[in-house]
Amino acid sequence: MKKAIDKIYKILPHILLAAVLASTALQAEFPKDTTGYISLMLILAAVETALIVRRKKWSAYGISSIVYGLILIWSLYPVINGRESFLFPPPQRISAVFVNDILVILKSIVSSLWLLLVSFLIALVLGIGLGMLCGRNKRLQNVVMPIARVLSPVPALIYAPYVVAVMPNFTLAALFIITSGLFYPILINIIVTLQHFDPKLRDASDVMGLGLKSTILNIYLPYCMPSLFNTLAMQISNAFLLLIGAELMGMDSGLGWYVKYNSDFSDYVRVIAGFIVIGAIIAVVNIGLQRVRGKVVLWQQAEQ
């Protein structure tokens, strides 16, 4: 029985793929909207390749089945409905956007990631730097921590109207908002981690007579890395929320701008394509972060 279930589980994604191909081929517009269909086929081929490459991973079959299943329901919706929905366009229309708008989308991705990267770097440098100094200096910590606890719960987007008025341009305003949204969680994380610094390691580093620079770089920083990465992983979605919010303020590029601009024209095909790109980018950034974490905190994985 279990063997039969396993076999079905392994075959299911391929059956669903065949169903998707059949349903799209049977639709009236095929092959008029060639770009849409070809791009959809490319997406399906990418999912199928990923499944074949990772076929040893049991979860790959489940994930592929869900992806194919959703595309199948999506592509069958206009057939069942009798006509295409304005708010729920079929997948081939969305996939066509990825080909037709490729340059705009790439430009938007670069613009958003640049904004995100610069903000992350500034927030990291400021948050880690001040956090480390607070970890070393109890008096400074007693001053900074209450202020951080009051300011950190205030959503950074609240500042938007004021920041736009104060800053010379939208880019700087967006940078400020994203940075301030990321700064407090990083700062608080570092301070709290150092508040619970292992006393055994403190003794070991103290008896070595390390200077401030060496203590921060060789002891405090690696000690904080695991919890810092956990915080960063949690803040990625928050960062994108801030990014999109900041881009909506008046930027003329970026993924947030792309979604907002097209929704102003009720172009929901492009709006949905924008959602998918944002989701994919967040996933890729998260995977990248996990990879970096794996390299940086290799010692903790060894510990586990």
Binding site: A204, D206, V207, P222, Q300, E303
Partner: protein
């Protein structure tokens, strides 16, 4: 080399000024001497060591090294703790290299070679790429000893370094330490805190017995160096000296406990030193 002096030293924590952790403690340790501090739990052994390491400062009196008052940690002193205290994010070799870098300004290759040499010396050649958590407790303590010796401090401070290690590895590490110190040209002063009477006799030139936050007895170990465990444990002198220390430990203690420990000891046999009855305190 360095001479150590405690002169009428008192210590109490700032949040509990009524209770003295150390009370008018005075002793001297000559250059190159190996001194063990033993005594029951809470008598002030580790506090004495922490004052010497500079992690704490005396509330009264003076702790001096070569006549200079100890005001904080210094590169002339190296410490090995019971809990290994290796940095978990550094591989074994990097832990040793990091220690060397604090005291030696040299190129990477010299530091790397020195770290390899000391890891080899403690029997961990080829294990340098492992993280501390991939090593057993005994191995971690070997790395800590390699780091300590590689830093070449004048004074070695060891706070129950083998206290958390199983009996077999403890004996091996005691032998290793004895061998390393005997082989070294540079004679270092060693202050060694332990609960283990046999360990103290095997390793030390002198034993300071602490009780009630004071130095209660200062005893010279009646064996010359270099010494071997087999030779000294075969002598009557060893058993008499051991008995003297044992009586000190259990003087005024819980009725019946001394007899119970003696009976347990008789079952274990006289050659299983440093194992079953090690932790008497």
């Amino acid at each position: 080399m360095a001479a150590i002096e405690f002169k009428n030293v008192d210590f109490r924590y700032s949040n509990n000024k009524d209770e003295n952790i150390l009370n008018n403690v005075s002793f001297k340790i000559r250059e190159g001497e190996f001194v063990s501090i033993i005594g029951g739990s809470g008598c002030g052994k580790s506090t004495t060591l922490s004052l010497l390491s500079g992690l704490n400062r005396a509330s009264g009196g003076a702790v001096t090294i070569d006549g200079k008052t100890v005001t904080g940690p210094g590169k002339d002193r190296g410490v090995v703790f019971q809990h290994y205290a290796l940095f978990p994010w550094m591989r074994a070799k990097r832990n040793v290299e990091f220690g060397i870098k604090q005291v030696l300004k040299a190129d990477k290759r010299t530091i790397s070679e020195k770290a390899d040499r000391y890891l080899e010396l403690v029997g961990l050649g080829g294990k340098g790429d492992l993280f501390p958590h991939q090593l057993s407790g005994g191995m971690q303590q070997r790395v800590a000893i390699a780091r300590l010796l590689a830093m070449e401090p004048d004074i070695l401070l060891m706070d129950e370094p083998f206290g958390a290690i199983d009996a077999k590895n403890r004996v091996a590490l005691q032998e290793l330490l004895l061998d390393l110190l005997d082989r070294e040209e540079k004679k270092r002063s060693v202050v060694f805190v332990t609960h283990d009477i046999d360990e103290a006799i095997l390793l030390s030139d002198r034993i300071l017995f602490m009780r009630d936050h004071e130095i209660y007895r200062d005893l010279k170990v009646p064996f010359d160096r270099p010494r071997s465990r087999e030779e000294i444990t075969a002598s009557n002198e060893y058993h008499e000296f051991r008995r003297e220390l044992f009586d000190l430990f259990y003087d005024n203690d819980i009725p019946g406990q001394k007899e119970a420990e003696e009976s347990k000891r008789a079952k274990v046999g006289k050659f299983s030193i440093g194992s079953a009855v090690g932790a008497v305190g």
